[in-house]
């Protein structure tokens, strides 16, 4: 079971990934996060239209093991959420980099520079294993 790291996204320490698409930032959770959580049973999605700052808790991802806060890695306005997750939260387990959770219209793209590259995130995860 090797975990996947997507070179086209940037990672937050709290295990969200962010990918620029046009003028939006798309956010999901990493393969490491879904693996740690195991089977995901519920996603509390952010509210469309909410103004958020980087690091804000905007939702929850709940698995049979635990409930984890979902944080936004960038500031701005939430413009879209992936409603398919309401009925099929398992999409986050099956395809963590395909199944996005929400899209933000960013107010400051430079915030992405504070996030980790795939290689940095992989190294970071290696230090977290007990």
């Amino acid at each position: 079971m090797t975990l996947k790291y997507d070179p086209n996204v940037k990672y937050a320490k709290t295990d969200e990934w962010a990918r620029v698409e046009g003028d939006l930032v798309v956010v999901g959770i990493s393969d490491y996060a879904q693996d740690q959580l195991s089977d995901i049973v519920y996603v509390e999605l952010p509210e469309v239209g909410a103004q958020v700052s980087a690091g804000d808790v905007v939702g929850t991802v709940e698995s049979v093991k635990a409930a984890a806060d979902l944080m936004t890695p960038v500031s701005g306005e939430i413009v879209e959420v992936n409603e398919a997750l309401d009925d099929s939260p398992e999409l986050l387990n099956e395809d963590p980099y395909g199944a996005w959770i929400f899209k933000v219209k960013p107010s400051d793209l430079a915030e992405l520079d504070d996030l980790m590259t795939a290689a940095e995130y992989e190294a970071y995860n290696a230090t977290r294993e007990h």
Partner: protein, 490 residues
């Protein structure tokens, strides 16, 4: 053994288990609009009902049937003499609305229990009202906040919670309307002192700390933690769920803790976890005593009588009547039965058993023990990460233990240990039982390497096979109505 029918499916129309006597008072008719044609209750004879529920109970696993090492839950043996005590008519047949003069015995028991657990943990005053540990936490956080508001400190709204804490700690914080701030642990499993210092400011209500913590480790920084929090004007909440490890050895109140809940159902041996309700009294320092929820029992010396007392700045009632009285009677019986000496030996034996278990786990080497470089207290946290069996997870190991007739340990908690197996043997188990459990874990490690599917498909010998937890969580069916078959026959 197959899973039995539901009681509704056994129903047959017109069958009955009781003969109700003719009414001996004039009947009062039920108003027309409240009458209904159909009452979907099962119709069975008395032996059917007895057999149905006895069979169901036999499928259940209980501490009276075997080893139940559910970490953090303290599933010790519950002495049967407690059950005798609580069934005494003077305790069992009283009503909470009775005049205090007629229930002096029961009030006296509550008074003595307040005094005894206050003495055990080093607190000046105790309220027995909260219904369980988590309820005690909510009560404690509200008390801390009330005390600070009384000092005019309205800006405080944050509660610090270590990352090893039980989920009820941040949950109680949120329920009280405050913000939980997570504090990391250091490499020895203690609260990270530098991170604590950085988080302390004048917006902090206080910290919630569990000692021994959920890693089963004594917080060796506890005195420093209390001092730092107090210097910042905060208060220290002690989560007393793990008191079983330290009774008669160290008193949380003496360490600097301001308010703490007791889990009477754990430390003082009353059936819980499906076996009965809990009881989560809170103990406080003299400074916080005026804020306790009422009523508590006080002694009116002039009249030599017990009375109900509402502390003057009480946060109010947090439970109807007086708390879970039956649990109090059992805990009282347990404390009296052991005495001070006996209670200390309870803790010493609980710690000895856990350390024996940890030492053998380290020797076996199949299950990593991340904090195994320290002695543990009443429990130890291992990991279901068996070298050479990478696709076997803690869940599989836990399910396989059921086939060996053991209740699995707590799994996936504390959250900071990956694939956690949290094992609490308690003092009531003998060496043979603990050895048999460890032998089973040893065999399971071999099975994991040789035939992992045996684990993936476990349990094989339980009344039900592997439950689909994911489907249960995603598509829960919360009530089961009488089946179509039973309904059509009615």
């Amino acid at each position: 053994m197959k899973f039995d029918d539901y009681i509704y499916d056994l129903s047959s129309p017109g069958r009955t288990g009781v003969d109700l006597p003719e009414p001996d008072v004039p009947p009062t008719p039920i108003p027309e609009e409240f009458l209904r044609e159909d009452l979907p209750l099962p119709e069975l004879s008395l032996p059917q009902v007895t057999r149905h529920y006895l069979r169901l109970s036999q499928k259940n696993y209980a501490v009276d049937k075997g080893f139940y090492p559910l970490g953090s839950c303290t599933m010790k043996y519950n002495p049967k003499v407690n059950e005798w005590a609580v069934r005494l008519p003077g305790f069992a047949n009283i009503h909470p609305l009775q005049h205090p003069h007629t229930v002096q015995g029961a009030m006296g028991l509550m008074y003595e229990l307040q005094e005894m657990i206050g003495e055990i943990a080093g607190f000046d005053a105790v309220s027995l009202q909260p219904a369980a540990g988590a309820h005690g936490e909510l009560t404690g956080v509200l008390i801390m906040r009330a005390a600070q508001l009384a000092r005019g400190e309205t800006q405080r709204h944050k509660v610090l919670v270590p990352d090893s804490a039980h989920g009820t700690n941040p949950a109680s914080t949120s329920m009280a309307g405050f913000t939980a701030v997570e504090i990391p642990s250091d490499k020895d499993g203690n609260v990270h002192i530098e991170a604590l210092k950085a988080a302390l400011d004048d917006e902090v209500i206080g910290i919630m700390i569990t000692n021994p913590n959920t890693l089963g480790l004594f917080e060796s920084n506890i005195v420093e933690v209390c001092e730092l929090v107090h210097e910042a004007g905060g208060l220290v909440y002690g989560d007393g769920a793990n008191l079983n490890a330290i009774v008669g050895i160290v008193r949380p109140g003496d360490l600097g803790i301001d308010v703490m809940h007791f889990n009477l159902h754990k430390t003082f041996s009353t059936p819980h976890g499906g076996g009965g309700p809990g009881s989560g009294p809170v103990g406080v320092t003299a400074e916080l005593a005026p804020f306790l929820p009422g009523p508590i029992v006080a002694l009116n010396e002039a009249e030599d009588a017990y009375i109900w007392h509402y502390p003057e700045k009480s946060i109010g009632r947090i439970k109807s009547f007086y708390g879970n009285f039956g649990v109090m009677v059992r805990a009282y019986a347990y404390i009296k039965m052991h005495g001070a000496e006996g209670l200390r030996r309870v803790s010493e034996t609980a710690v000895l058993n856990a350390n024996y278990l940890q030492a053998r786990l380290l020797q076996m080497g199949d299950y990593p023990v991340p904090y195994g470089h320290r002695f543990c207290k009443h429990e130890t946290v291992a990991q279901g990460k068996i070298a050479g069996a990478e696709d076997v997870r803690t869940l599989d190991i836990a399910k396989r233990l059921i086939d060996y007739d053991f209740h699995p340990p707590t799994i996936y908690f504390p959250l900071i240990v990956h694939e956690a197996l949290m094992i609490e043997p308690t003092e009531t188990e003998d060496k043979e039982t603990i050895d048999a459990f460890l032998d089973a874990l040893d065999k399971i490690a071999d099975e994991a390497r040789e035939n992992p599917d045996l684990l993936h498909e476990a349990p094989h010998h339980a009344p039900v096979r592997r439950l689909d937890e994911v489907r249960a969580a995603r598509h829960p069916i919360l009530i089961r109505l009488p089946s179509a078959k039973a309904a059509s026959e009615r």
